[in-house]
């Protein structure tokens, strides 16, 4: 336990030291203002922007897209995972595609999605969902593979229907793997949506960062970068901690 605390304090000291070093380097001009502004100015600019409400619309746009992408990835991924797992013939066909899916730069499809869905929020939701859904499918299948046969058999003893078996036995037994899928779906959807906004979009945080960069508005750019990085790191620690708790509870 003390060791864990030690690691925590050392980590905090490292991060604070890093911020302080950046601050000093920027203030003394070792890092030119055109490259980076001091972290304290980033934070001040961000606080000002949040207070005045000028970022609110873009934050809402991005968060709504991310939420939709996450919901679609998880629901569709779990459903497709169930279906593919139930049909071995289909599984053998799509298995190579699923396995090599993340070796393909998914963003090459983004321009295509814009052409198909128009320059609205929907290509963003779609690219986020495309990024997240396969992680959910893979982990659902993985989890279902590990459901102990004895559980399924006892379900048969109780004469459960097909859907009851899925709902009461298979999904709970596959829970740890499903949560890993959820964790990855969340992370990937966030990356997909923000990256899509950065590439081409009508609104959103990603677009805002790109605009600030194009207009040489360094303070605005770094303030928003700080916001995006902080919120994604918070999301990461939230889902990570949640997954760890689930895994600990489910371990037999």
């Amino acid at each position: 336990m003390p060791r864990r605390h030690l690691a925590f304090w050392l980590r905090l000291a490292f991060l604070l030291g890093l911020a302080a070093a950046l601050e000093v380097l920027c203030r003394t001009g070792s890092i030119p203002r055109l490259t980076m502004i001091p972290p304290s100015e980033m934070a001040a600019r961000l606080a000002g922007g949040l207070w005045s409400g000028e970022y609110l619309a873009d934050i809402g746009f991005t968060f709504a897209n991310i939420g939709a992408a996450i919901a679609i990835s998880i629901a569709l991924g779990a459903l497709l995972g169930l279906v593919i797992h139930a049909l071995p013939r289909v599984r053998r066909l799509v298995d190579p595609m699923l396995a090599s899916y993340y070796s393909v730069p998914t963003f090459v499809f983004y321009p295509l999605l814009i052409v198909l869905l128009g320059l609205t929020r929907w290509p963003l939701v779609a690219i986020g969902a495309m990024f997240g859904v396969v992680a959910m499918i893979l982990n659902t299948i993985n989890g279902l593979d590990r459901v102990p046969r004895a559980l399924v058999k006892s379900g048969r003893v109780f004469r459960l229907s097909r859907w009851e078996t899925v709902w009461r036995i298979k999904l709970p037994a596959a829970a740890p793997s499903l949560f890993t899928g959820v964790k990855l779906a969340v992370t990937y959807s966030v990356i997909g949506v923000i990256a899509g906004e950065f590439i081409l979009s009508v609104a959103g945080l990603g677009r805002r960062i790109k605009l600030a960069y194009d207009n040489l508005d360094n303070p605005g750019m770094y303030a928003l970068l700080l916001f995006v990085l902080t919120s994604t790191v918070l999301v990461y620690f939230f889902v990570h901690g949640w997954e760890r708790r689930v895994h600990r509870r489910w371990r037999p």
Binding site: A7, V104, L112, V190, I194, A195
Partner: protein
């Protein structure tokens, strides 16, 4: 060694595969009919365009530019990720301190850091390389660190019993023990480095496949967009699949399925 060779494909499986490809092509053609030529090029037109691209002299310098940046970026990601991952795995406290930091950085949308890379490096090859390596290095670190940390304690005890120096025990004990994990990190790092390099070219470059892609987007040239997409998809899926096969082969003694991050 022959034991891991997959069984021959049965006639039914082959028929299923043909049906599957036909269904995909029909779906594509159907979508094309539905949204029209401007929305989505037909499969035939796309493959014709892809063939023309591969045959044209102006395509290959772009592919070469992407390839060069990718190789540099992969070398940086591999060497850096291996060194950092080994260090964090070997020195336990350092690993505990930095593991969450590395995981968190891995989870951020690195595309938003692109402006910083550009401000640091300008519109150069180095910017592309840095951006590719930035994507690929984190899975390398994470998996190398995990592999070293999960190496059996008895191996380290043996190293100590034989009075190996830290360098020798890393070289002769930890790297071989962590090799499957390191390879998984390399496999995932490989595709992410390619992604990073391509994204780098999308935004700020005057050559490369990413540049061709963004140019055809600006010219609203649907056929070329789709043809490039198909070519990139085919190339990276082929390499990715080959690496995955190798990965599974390396792990056949442990039964664990390679992670798919």
């Amino acid at each position: 060694m022959r034991a891991s060779v997959p069984p021959a494909i049965s006639g039914r499986q082959a028929a299923d595969a043909v049906l599957f490809v036909a269904a995909l092509a029909a779906l594509w053609q159907g979508a094309h009919e539905l949204v029209g030529k401007e929305g989505l090029a037909s499969p035939l037109a796309t493959f014709a365009r892809a063939g023309a691209l591969l045959g044209s002299a102006s395509f290959w310098p772009h592919a070469g530019a992407t390839g060069l940046a990718f190789v540099y970026a992969l070398a940086v990601a591999l060497a850096g990720g291996l060194a950092i991952g080994l260090a964090l795995g070997y020195f336990r406290l350092a690993g505990e301190v930095f593991e969450p930091v590395v995981g968190a950085v891995y989870s951020i949308p690195k595309i938003t850091l692109y402006p910083i890379i550009l401000l640091l490096f300008g519109l150069t090859l180095s910017a592309k390389v840095a951006f590719g390596a930035l994507h690929g290095i984190f899975p390398m670190i994470i998996f190398t660190m995990g592999g070293v940390k999960n190496a059996k304690p008895v191996l380290l005890k043996a190293a100590r019993a034989m009075r190996l120096s830290p360098a020798a025990s890393i070289r002769h004990i930890l790297i071989p023990a962590a090799l499957p994990e390191i390879f998984t990190g390399f496999r995932i790092g490989f595709s992410l480095t390619l992604l990073g390099t391509l994204i780098g070219e999308l935004f700020a470059s005057d050559r490369g496949l990413g540049f061709l892609l963004i140019r055809s987007i600006e010219h609203n040239d649907g056929e070329t967009i789709l043809a490039l997409t198909v070519l990139l998809f085919a190339a990276s899926a082929t390499v990715g699949w080959a690496l995955l096969r190798l990965d599974r082969r390396l792990r056949r003694h442990t039964e664990a399925e390679p992670a798919s991050l």
